[in-house]
């Protein structure tokens, strides 16, 4: 009798695991993140890039706008085609809180490659993840064709930001140090 109960408990746990996996897979990730968790049956296009490593000074030099801001909106869009595949991008809306370099409106749109629309999924591994409500330091390139921005160096150009400290692939600094570095780089 005991082993029957144990088996029932294990199978109930299994059913619970299945339910939670189902919830994760059916969740609309565009509401909270630009990164997609594909369903096994989705048709997935996976993009992986090998990149030039950008040090902080190069990130600064390559950017049109540098700011800190908060992610306030995330949504996927079809934009163009490649080899008969409709390309999916996910637009991220950011409200700027501190403009460190360049010019932009208070609210701006950043285009990131990848996203999900219906059963079609594109995953760009080198794009940074943006989460709704998250604050970040952003190095941005202006995209004149779209009137929006893209992140400089993809995952290299988005840094986490907390209490005046920023952390990215090129190091950890205070906002004041970043401001000082921008002034120094742009003066040369």
């Amino acid at each position: 009798m005991k082993h029957v109960i144990i088996n029932i408990v294990i199978l109930a746990l299994l059913a619970g695991l299945g339910l939670s996996c189902n919830q994760i897979l059916n969740e609309d990730p565009t509401l909270t993140s630009n990164k997609v968790t594909p369903h096994p049956t989705d048709d997935v296009q996976l993009l992986s890039s090998v990149m030039v490593q950008l040090e902080l000074d190069e990130l600064i030099k390559s950017s049109d706008v540098i700011l800190t801001g908060t992610v306030t909106g995330i949504g996927p869009v079809y934009r163009g085609t490649w080899q008969n595949t409709q390309l999916i991008f996910t637009d991220v809306v950011v409200e700027a809180s501190q403009l460190l370099y360049g010019q932009t409106s208070e609210s701006l749109v950043i285009q990131t490659r990848g996203g999900r629309i219906d059963g079609s999924v594109i995953i760009a591994e080198d794009e940074p993840e943006f989460r709704l409500g998250e604050e970040a330091l952003l190095f941005l390139r202006h995209n004149p064709d779209l009137g929006s921005f893209i992140v400089t160096g993809t995952l290299q150009g988005k840094w986490s930001c907390e209490n005046g400290q920023v952390i990215g692939v090129a190091g950890e600094y205070s906002i004041l140090e970043i401001e000082s570095r921008i002034s120094s780089v742009m003066a040369h």
Partner: protein, 196 residues
């Protein structure tokens, strides 16, 4: 005697619950990608041991030569997997300029898959950059770049920890850098996925 029979009862209970435990462990394992420090593999793979690819003959000869050499390196890694050049396939190696904002990308790989099985793979050299087959200054070595991109075709993922910089799957390549040999961890990766 009593202790022995208690032991037998516990063993019997364990045996009876074993199928459910194995089932739970198997399902859990299928949702967790393999993330070993040595290499990173997401569980997606080809359903064949030979993948054919077609190089765009309009590309510079250095791009073609580097690509073919890189394919040979992976094919000779000791795994039950090979990359062969052939004319009739959808798996393309091409080159074009990625445009404004994507200058930091040296090459990009596209993998199409569903249900963990790859149906097509392509990779593209970004002609914004200058390439050579290891013979010119201020260029990217085509074989080094192609070796990394073919690693993606096998479904090995990028590594970004500086401690992994000697590995082919390290996500950054510098100008004039030559990395034409597989690191043992790259070899372990392909063997883990496709066997020997």
């Amino acid at each position: 005697m009593k202790r022995l029979s208690n032991l037998n009862i516990k063993s019997a209970m364990l045996l009876r619950t074993l199928p459910a435990i194995i089932l739970v462990a198997t399902i859990y394992a299928s949702f967790v990608p393999v993330q070993i420090q040595a290499f990173h593999y997401s569980g997606i793979h080809w359903n064949t041991d030979t993948v054919y690819f077609k190089v765009d003959i309009e590309m510079d000869q250095a791009l073609i030569d580097g690509t073919l050499a890189a394919a040979d390196t992976w094919s000779n890694a000791g795994a039950n997997f090979s990359l062969d050049s052939y004319w009739v396939t959808n798996n393309d190696v091409t080159a074009y300029n990625f445009g404004v904002g994507y200058e930091h990308i040296i090459a990009q790989c596209w993998i199409s898959y569903s249900n963990f099985i790859i149906s097509e793979a392509d990779f593209i050299f970004n002609t914004y950059h200058d390439f050579s087959w290891g013979s010119a200054y201020d260029t990217f070595d085509t074989e080094t770049v192609a070796l990394h991109e073919f690693g993606h075709w096998l479904m090995l993922n990028d590594l970004y920890d500086p401690a992994d910089s000697d590995k082919v799957m390290y996500g950054y390549i510098a100008l004039d850098q030559i990395k034409r040999d597989l690191h043992q961890d790259d070899i372990d990766g392909i063997i883990y996925i496709y066997g020997t």
